[in-house]
Amino acid sequence: MVNKLYQYFVIILLVGFMSNNTSFAQKNDLKNYKMLYKFNTVKQHDNSRLFEVSFVASNKKDRKVKLPVYGADINFINVVNEEEILLGTVKTDKEGFARLTLPENQTYYTDVEGYINFLARFESTDALKSIEKELAIKDVFLELDLKEIDSIKKVTLNAYTLDSLKTKIPLEETGVIFSVGGFISNLPIKEATIKDGEYEFEFPDDIPGDAEGNIDVFVSIEDHEDYGNVVQNKNVPWGIFKEQGKKPTLTLWSHYAPIWMYVVLTILLVGVWSNYIYSIINLFKIKKEGKNLELEPKD
């Protein structure tokens, strides 16, 4: 029977070790990974343009396991009639991101339809194949006007593109999001659709600002098929100042513990120790009785 026991023991060990060793090996083999390559561009509030590539290897079996590709050269290119104009080359960081920001005065060449064609390319290496992603967008201008007339705060947005003669062409039926700046992320306050290149609305008067009541108002176009991502913002003293709630009085470094803690601990300790004392008193009574019995004359 003992032999049988050892057999079971060894079988359990083997099954455990084999199954886990396999899974561990899978995590380290490049063949088990799929390359995720994303390209995006954002026109920022100062009309500069940010180009961003995210380059990450994702495990085919366990999608939660993701490894950023570090130090990969990414070429950002403006394509015009099959001619490639290099805008810049950036290496991916430890998170797998390559970011390039070009100033407002950077010239981009458009095709006949007015689209700027961008390309983000990773050239092949010994370990990885080459990858590239393309984007075609029109250059959009957002003008945000914030005015207070007769105690009514008005937000006016003008959105347009420019043709080859620099004539403004108003945007039509384009979704925009108005938001205000927050500590961690922006707080959306309005989702709207632009008509004839314009949109206007009354700004709510209950949005908290900073200590001086200043607030950042943002307008953005997000992932539009023709215009990509565009952001514009302005700072305005329209926020209300809200005092922070009272500072918490109970902290780990507080001098005194909460009252209930003293009460509970006292009840527990008094309960237990009074029982110990009761037992000890009874022991003394037993001892006393024993002593009395010893003193009694034996028959």
Binding site: V2, L5, I12, L13, N20, N282, I286, K291
Partner: protein, 448 residues
């Protein structure tokens, strides 16, 4: 039944056990003392040279000392729990195992806290714990709980010993003078009169409830020391019940091992029977299932949480600690389940084997709770030497660990030389009850 004659018979039966000294027992005691002395040398070295000679560093501030501390306190808690239950419900097994359990309880509660003192770098500031104690700190709760529990357990152990001390006092005419004096002092004038018996029974019963409650509180507080921190692998709402289940699991393991050794060495087959091993084995089976369920639940929740820190921890557990993880959480749980589940395997030897696996697995589980978590904190450790990040224990720590185990075994042997491991008063009580309620007690008697 003449009680005096029966008491004399029992002393005649058990007294040789108290005086039993063979060549091998002397060698064994010498061996234990040597291990303790080596531990003392290690302790002096640690005091002189500081914690630098241990594996503990700035990041991994706890090592095998704290694991031993948790393990011994866990033994004590489970011992107190089992002893209290056995006494309160007048279990038919009481006479066979209760004394073993009570001794384990007190000794482990004496040895365990020594290990926490070894973790402290500045022992000269130990009294600060009391002077600057902060009630909102779980460490302060732990100090209070352990001290109160220790005093309660010693008191309870003494209460259960009194009738046997009285029997030995009245029937050891041939014993050395010091021994007779000691029995007289410890028996505190107990003459087994009805009023003394009632009084002792009443306070022992109250204390049995009290030590069960104290054990649960103490071990819960110990679990909170970990679970109330925001460390990956520790911050868990089920840690307290998990620790309690694990405590009973290892407690039954150690009781089975002790029963096996005592039965074999002192030839107590008549009192510690196979039925006791099977009963303890079935409880061990239930506890192993519960412990396995809690362990799975803990790791599953961490894996499913998608929390990066938890994933780093799991990667470490399945990477660098792969074998330890398998031994602790697969072998340490599944092997006892397989052995104890199959009726055919339930022999005394195989149940003891299952208990050994359970105890070793649980010690390793405690190691995996403490060390890998400290190696993978929420804020990644950067720009430091590898030996500061990765813990590896030194001979000093192992010497003190084995010295603690040796001290536990040595004191166990010394207590067994003072009072019989089978309570004579329990046998007398049982026989007295048998006369009073013959039918009822006869059924109970079948078990022990």
């Amino acid at each position: 039944m003449d009680l005096d004659i029966r008491k004399r018979e029992l002393v005649k039966e058990f007294y040789p056990i108290l005086e039993k000294t063979t060549k091998w027992s002397k060698i064994w005691i010498g061996f234990l003392i040597t291990i303790i002395l080596i531990g003392l040398v290690a302790f002096v070295l640690q005091i002189v040279k500081g914690h630098e000679i241990t594996g503990m560093r700035d990041n991994v501030v706890w090592g095998i000392y704290i694991i031993n501390f948790i393990f011994f306190v866990c033994l004590s808690y489970s011992g107190a729990f089992i002893a209290g239950i056995l006494h309160f419900f007048k279990s038919p097994w009481k006479n066979s195992v209760s004394r073993i359990v009570e001794i384990i309880t007190v000794l482990s509660l004496m040895v365990g806290p020594i290990f926490i003192l070894l973790c402290i770098g500045r022992l000269d500031r130990l009294h600060y714990l009391f002077i600057y104690s902060r009630i909102q700190s779980p460490i302060a709760w732990d100090v209070l709980a352990i001290l109160t529990d220790l005093i309660g357990c010693v008191l309870y152990l003494f209460l259960t010993f009194i009738p046997d001390f009285a029997i030995l006092r009245d029937n050891s005419e041939n014993a050395p003078k010091w021994r007779r004096k000691l029995y007289k002092f410890l028996a505190i004038g107990y003459q087994d009169t009805p009023s003394q018996r009632d009084r002792l029974y009443k306070i022992t019963k109250t204390m049995s409830v009290m030590i069960v409650a104290m054990a649960i509180i103490t071990y819960t507080v110990l679990a909170w020391i970990f679970s109330l921190t925001l460390q990956p692998g520790w911050n868990s709402t089920i840690f307290a019940p998990y620790f309690i289940v694990a405590g009973i699991y290892s407690g039954f393991g150690v009781i089975i091992i002790s029963m096996f050794l005592i039965r074999k060495y002192y030839k107590l087959e008549h009192y510690i029977r196979k039925v006791h091993f099977i009963g303890a084995g079935i409880i061990l089976l239930v506890m192993s299932l519960l412990y396995g369920y809690f362990t799975f639940s803990e790791y599953f929740a961490r894996w499913f949480s998608h929390n990066r820190a938890n994933h780093f921890l799991l990667d470490t557990l399945f990477g660098r600690y792969f074998w330890e993880f398998i031994l602790a959480n697969y072998v340490g749980v599944l092997v006892p389940i397989v052995i104890l589940f199959v009726k055919k395997f339930r022999t005394i030897k195989s149940i003891t084997f299952a208990a050994v696996i359970a105890v070793l697995g649980l010690w390793l589980n405690r190691y995996l709770i403490v060390v890998p978590t400290l190696e993978t904190p929420y804020i990644p450790i950067q720009d430091t030497r590898p030996e500061f990040i990765q813990y590896s224990s030194t001979w000093i720590e192992w010497a003190l660990t084995f010295a603690g185990i040796a001290a536990f075994v040595l004191f166990f042997i010394l207590i067994m030389k003072l009072v019989p491991i089978i309570p004579m008063s329990g046998i007398i009580d049982n026989e007295r009850e048998k006369i009073r309620k013959p039918k009822e007690v006869t059924q109970n008697n079948m078990l022990w």
